[in-house]
């Protein structure tokens, strides 16, 4: 469905951020993109949604294809029309607009008024809390409510592929669980493919079908999520697990550092 083919991204003509990233999202799948801060996850998402151009970034090499069409030169609004919606990091809202207006803006690229109404009800079904606040000015929402609103707004474009940038950021564990439950539900019911960028590797791996790990602008590891979960390196560096029941010592810590051998 979506394929990134060895793409290279440069910001402001000098800063090389992605150094040849390839990944693909199959239809109906949930794919997780993991990695530490600054690994280039968000940049990869912006390259897909076309928002890179608004930040002086450019795909200088490789290609991005969505359902057989090259999209790396297209504008963000064209890409939204084609069916890719990015839910940006930090949950940006139109703060002066009400909750309902925010949701309506999400359907801006569509012209089918009747189905928009129905989809809006769907969004309220997924996020009942938004229905109760529909006339509230959205700038005053809490973090969790904001996350639900930006996802609801994204859904209104009827995306075939939804790019979620750190949905769990700064939310309580209970809320993270709830958000990811809904992500899974959306994936099943709307048949929306989902690419989720996460720091919270545990939840991301538990709902995704496939996962990629990024570091320093490269994909260093990928595979089915169930397999990655068992991977020793992933366990140690992303899931924070160590061999249970054994005593830890600084010697082991050093040993772990050496084990992370995918680093260039």
């Amino acid at each position: 469905m979506l394929t990134l083919n060895n793409i290279e991204v440069i910001y402001s003509d000098v800063i090389l951020v992605l150094k040849g990233v390839s990944l693909s999202v199959e239809e109906g799948n949930i794919v997780a993109l993991l990695g530490a801060n600054g690994a280039g996850k968000s940049t990869a998402l912006k390259a897909m949604s076309g928002l890179l151009k608004t930040e002086l970034g450019e795909v200088t090499d490789g290609s991005i294809e969505f359902e057989g069409t090259k999209i790396d030169r297209k504008s963000p609004e064209e890409i939204v029309k084609m069916g890719i919606v990015q839910v940006m990091e930090g949950r940006p809202l139109f703060e002066q607009l009400t909750v309902e207006e925010n949701i309506k803006v999400g359907a801006y690229s569509r012209n089918d008024t009747d189905t928009i109404k129905r989809d809006m009800e769907d969004v309220y079904q997924y996020f009942p809390i938004l229905a109760r606040m529909r006339h509230r000015v959205s700038g005053y929402l809490s973090g969790g409510e904001r996350q639900m609103l930006v996802m609801g707004r994204g859904l209104m474009a009827r995306p075939k592929l939804m790019l979620l940038d750190e949905p769990s950021l700064g939310l309580s564990p209970a809320l993270v669980k709830e958000i990811f439950r809904i992500i899974e539900l959306i994936n099943k019911e709307q048949n929306t493919s989902i690419l989720v960028v996460e720091q919270n590797a545990f939840v991301a791996l538990s709902i995704s079908d496939h996962a990629y790990v990024m570091e320093n602008g490269r994909i260093v590891l990928d595979g089915p999520s169930s397999k990655l979960k068992e991977n020793e390196d992933i366990k140690e560096f992303y899931l924070g697990l160590s061999q249970v029941g054994k005593r830890k010592s600084y010697k082991d810590v050093k040993h772990y550092k050496r084990r992370k051998r995918w680093l260039s």
Binding site: E77, V80, E95, S109
Partner: protein, 294 residues
């Protein structure tokens, strides 16, 4: 007391013109965050085009109105396309200065065409006065006053309830976010300039209804800017209220203070009001309250 009321009502009529000019500036600011100085010229050119068709070619009212709107909108669109679009992403001060350059350039054209003469619109609205218990209101001014009010209502409704209005409000808040939801921000900019140019043309025609078209006409844009800033720059309601208020204050102030200081109060009052408002409320009377979460 009747004297005061008479002055106040005349002020209201003038104020509605200021409000319209301010509205055209506010519209552009709302969606693009560019404070436009060029709108005084749009107002003047709107009036001039209308005169060309009505006085120059002798066309009937409607036949003059539509092409005047069209041509003014075209100027607005060209300003946006040719001068402001290349500046997207640059500091806003660049766009602001660009509108000033446009003001000067268009003023050259305007003065060159008029050659120091004045042009008077032929009467196109019913004449006569409406007399209510000793107060006399010119009917043509009353009509333009209500047109202004209706226009405000219409534009506000467009902003509040239509899809285009929603897109404009969304764009005003965050261009990048608007793009990410599928709004073509560039188109929104074009639409807003067209809409604002038409409002400016209406303001120009309404102004030319009460005074001749001469080289000072574009400077009503300064009054419009004062009103827009006092009203909060992004508030249509602010533009309306402050516009009417400024008209009244100017007129009443001139009537009572001119004999004492020997004239010229009208030209100063606006700036005094602006100074006071900005001292007390730096965001303007109806400016948007920024939502800040802690």
């Amino acid at each position: 007391m009747t004297g005061f009321l008479q002055q106040a009502i005349t002020g209201l009529m003038i104020g509605s013109l200021y409000a319209l000019v301010a509205a055209s500036i506010v519209l552009v600011y709302k969606a693009t965050h560019v404070v436009s100085l060029a709108h005084g010229q749009l107002v003047a050119f709107g009036a001039l085009f209308f005169w060309l068709f009505l006085g120059g070619l002798g066309l009937p009212f409607w036949m003059g109105l539509i092409p005047a709107f069209f041509l003014t909108a075209l100027i607005g669109l060209l300003i946006e396309r040719l001068t402001l679009r290349p500046l997207i992403g640059q500091p806003l001060i660049a766009a602001f200065l660009m509108t000033f350059a446009i003001f000067i350039a268009l003023e050259g054209v305007f003065v060159l065409y008029l050659k120091g003469q004045t042009r008077a619109l032929p009467t196109f609205l019913p004449e006569g006065n409406l007399d209510i218990s000793g107060l006399s209101i010119p009917i043509n001014q009353l009509i333009s006053f209500f047109v202004a009010i209706l226009l405000f209502a219409a534009v506000s409704l467009i902003f509040k309830y239509t899809k285009l209005g929603l897109g404009m409000r969304a764009t005003a808040e965050d261009h990048r976010l608007a793009q990410s939801t599928g709004i073509t921000v560039r188109n929104i900019f074009s639409y807003i300039w067209i809409l604002s140019a038409v409002v400016a043309a209406i303001a120009g025609i309404a102004t030319a209804n009460v005074m001749d078209i001469y080289y000072m006409l574009p400077y009503i844009g300064i009054n419009g800017l004062i009103v827009a800033i006092c009203g909060g720059l992004d508030s249509l309601l602010g533009a309306l209220v402050v516009g009417l208020l400024l008209g009244v204050v100017e007129n009443v102030g001139a009537a009572y203070l001119d004999p004492i200081v020997g004239g010229g109060v009208k030209d100063v009052v606006g700036y005094v009001v602006l100074l006071l408002v900005l001292l007390i409320k730096p965001y303007g009377l109806f400016g948007l309250v920024r939502i800040e979460r802690i």
